[in-house]
């Protein structure tokens, strides 16, 4: 600056610098977004949203594994005793507290996404310390309501959106 004593006031040039920088940054962001968003699920992936299944053949105490959005969904027809245990254990010290009643639409049918909430493996049925599922990957135990009881998984098995279309058909998604 030629005059050192003069206080530095914003000049027309400062204004130009700032406006240019702002326009430049906005432009860069506008170009960056499509490049990032293309990584998100495309239309064909998002479209595969619901499946219908016949559940009439599942016996009491039996279960079915079906694919939904590339992930397994467990549909389990629980016995009277299992339902009783699940409800009684509402009062246990649960890592992710939730009542059994809030996890089912019909007590007899438990519908959960069969993906361990730890790092995504598929838990094995009728294994583990709590009569539900056991995930072999890092040792998470789930109970007969699909609630996490022991191990590194932080939350209960997810309940997908579903509805009973009629007595025999369930629609997931």
């Amino acid at each position: 600056m030629t005059n050192k004593t003069k206080e530095k006031k914003p000049t027309r040039r400062d204004f130009l610098y700032i406006t240019t920088a702002v326009f430049g940054a906005t432009g860069a962001a506008a170009v960056a977004w499509p490049l990032i968003d293309q990584l998100n699920p495309d239309a064909s992936v998002s479209a595969l949203s619901s499946v219908e299944t016949d559940i009439s053949s599942i016996p009491e105490g039996g279960s079915l594994k079906i694919a939904w959005r590339g992930k397994p969904v467990f549909i389990r027809r629980r016995t009277k005793e299992e339902i009783e245990i699940a409800e009684k254990e509402d009062n246990e010290n649960l890592p992710d507290p939730q009542n059994d009643a809030d996890r089912v639409k019909n007590k007899e049918w438990l519908v959960v996404v069969g993906v361990c909430t730890h790092l995504g493996c598929i838990p094995i049925a009728d294994k583990g310390d709590f009569g539900g599922w056991f995930c072999p990957c890092h040792g998470s135990h789930y109970d007969i309501s699909g609630r996490i009881r022991k191990g590194p998984a932080p939350t209960n098995l997810e309940v997908p959106p579903y509805e009973f279309v009629n007595e025999n058909i369930i629609k997931i998604g």
Partner: protein, 420 residues
């Protein structure tokens, strides 16, 4: 570095070239007459070996990519096609698959070398940090390469590892979906991993150039950790170290060849010869051997987020080494106490590797926890404390001067003479 030798172009063409693009001068100064400490041992040959490992992966990888199909319906079959139909496809694939293991073997030795001789210390901080960056990129590259095979281990390894991102609070799930391009590992994931697996080795190549540039600014460390003082301490890179490096590489190749020709699948997991199935998790998921120690740390913690943080932390902590260990004496040769902790650390890493392959229960889990604690304590507790209190043993004044430096040491006089 002090050069008392300078490149002089010999003929009319090299003189002409030297004025326009001093390519030969550059090669000469950096590869041929580069002054190198005279006392480097075989642990210093791994840099050269690593460079050739990278070149090997790039060449075989480009060839594999000519025959491979990155689509979930065809990927697994195209690997078998490479193995059975493509001329020498089996050889090229076995070189690439075992080459990744050899690459990691070499990089581990290279890093433990640096840890032992204090190569990360002033003035080589940037050199070290660039090394850690390369290591991180190697892990990501190898992980993505393993997914390309689209076997059961590929698929479930990819599922477990990408899910780590989901542990990040709030934004984790969205980032995970962004990473996968779907709600689970699927075709979009395979496609982008292929694209990145092709790209990253070239990024690594770029960082390697920076790494070597930084090396050539500070010069090599050496087994004594004492700085080079004059030209008595150095010899020219060529022919002394070109020969030594090549010899070491040939020995390394012999081992490499054993795996390729006699035991090509021993380092891999048999389940990866089963095609990926999104509906069945194998009973026992393990990553490739070189990632087992990190996997053990991940599973040592009963909390998802903490496990993930510790696993990444175990690599991130390496970035801070130059500021955690501030002891002026570089080489563990003259640090009797550090040496004990160092070898305990080495053992811990082996043990973690073993534990990473076992089920996370009972004694295994307990040991994983003990080892994880020691892993971090070594860097965060032992290093800073030793930097303050450890008394180094007597050391020579210079690389080629056997007199004892009495400033640092006691009056004991072990035989420390090196050369002359």
């Amino acid at each position: 570095m002090n050069h008392d030798y300078e490149y002089t172009p010999g003929n009319a063409f090299t003189k002409w070239l030297d004025k326009r693009l001093p390519l030969i001068r550059f090669a000469d100064e950096n590869l041929l007459s580069f002054p190198t400490p005279r006392n480097l041992n075989y642990f210093w040959t791994f840099g050269f070996i690593l460079t050739l490992c990278l070149v090997t992966q790039i060449i075989t990888g480009i060839v594999l990519a000519m025959h491979y199909t990155p689509h979930v319906l065809m990927a697994f079959d195209s690997i078998e096609h490479i193995m059975r139909d493509v001329n020498y496809g089996w050889l090229i694939r076995y070189i690439h698959a075992n080459g990744a293991s050899m690459f990691f073997l070499a990089v581990f030795i290279h890093m433990f070398r640096g840890l032992y001789y204090g190569s990360y210390k002033e003035p080589r901080e940037i050199l070290w940090i660039l090394g850690v960056v390369i290591f991180l990129l190697m892990i990501i590259t190898a992980f993505m390469g393993y997914v390309l095979v689209w076997g059961q281990m590929s698929f479930w390894g990819a599922t477990v590892i990408t899910n780590l991102v989901g542990a990040i609070p709030l934004v984790g799930e969205s980032i995970l979906t962004l990473l996968l391009g779907g709600f689970s590992v699927d075709n979009p994931t395979l496609n982008r991993f292929f694209s990145l697996h092709y790209l990253l080795p070239f990024v690594i190549f770029g960082v390697v150039i920076l790494h070597i540039w930084a090396l050539h600014v500070t010069g090599n460390n050496n087994p004594t950790g004492i700085s080079v003082k004059n030209t008595n301490d150095t010899i020219s890179f060529h022919p002394y170290y070109t020969v030594k490096d090549l010899f070491a590489y040939v020995v390394f190749l012999l081992m490499f060849a054993y795996f390729i020709f006699y035991n090509p699948n021993i380092l891999g997991h048999p389940d990866n010869y089963i095609e990926a199935d999104a509906m069945v998790t194998p009973a026992h998921i393990v990553p490739e051997w070189y990632l087992l120690p990190f996997y053990a740390i991940l599973r040592a913690v009963p909390d998802k987020l903490m496990g993930v943080l510790l696993m990444f932390g175990s690599i991130v902590v390496l970035f801070f080494l130059p500021w955690l260990d501030t002891m002026k004496v570089k080489s563990a040769r003259y640090r009797p106490t550090y040496k004990i902790f160092y070898f305990t650390f080495l053992l811990t890493c082996f043990l973690l590797g073993y534990l990473g392959g076992q089920a996370p229960e009972g004694l295994y889990l307990f040991l994983s926890r003990v080892c994880t604690i020691y892993y971090f304590a070594f860097f965060l507790v032992v290093m800073p404390i030793l930097s303050r209190y450890e008394k180094p043993s007597p050391m020579p004044i210079g690389i080629s001067n056997s007199a004892i430096n009495t400033d640092l040491g006691t009056d004991k006089n072990p035989a420390l003479s090196i050369n002359n």
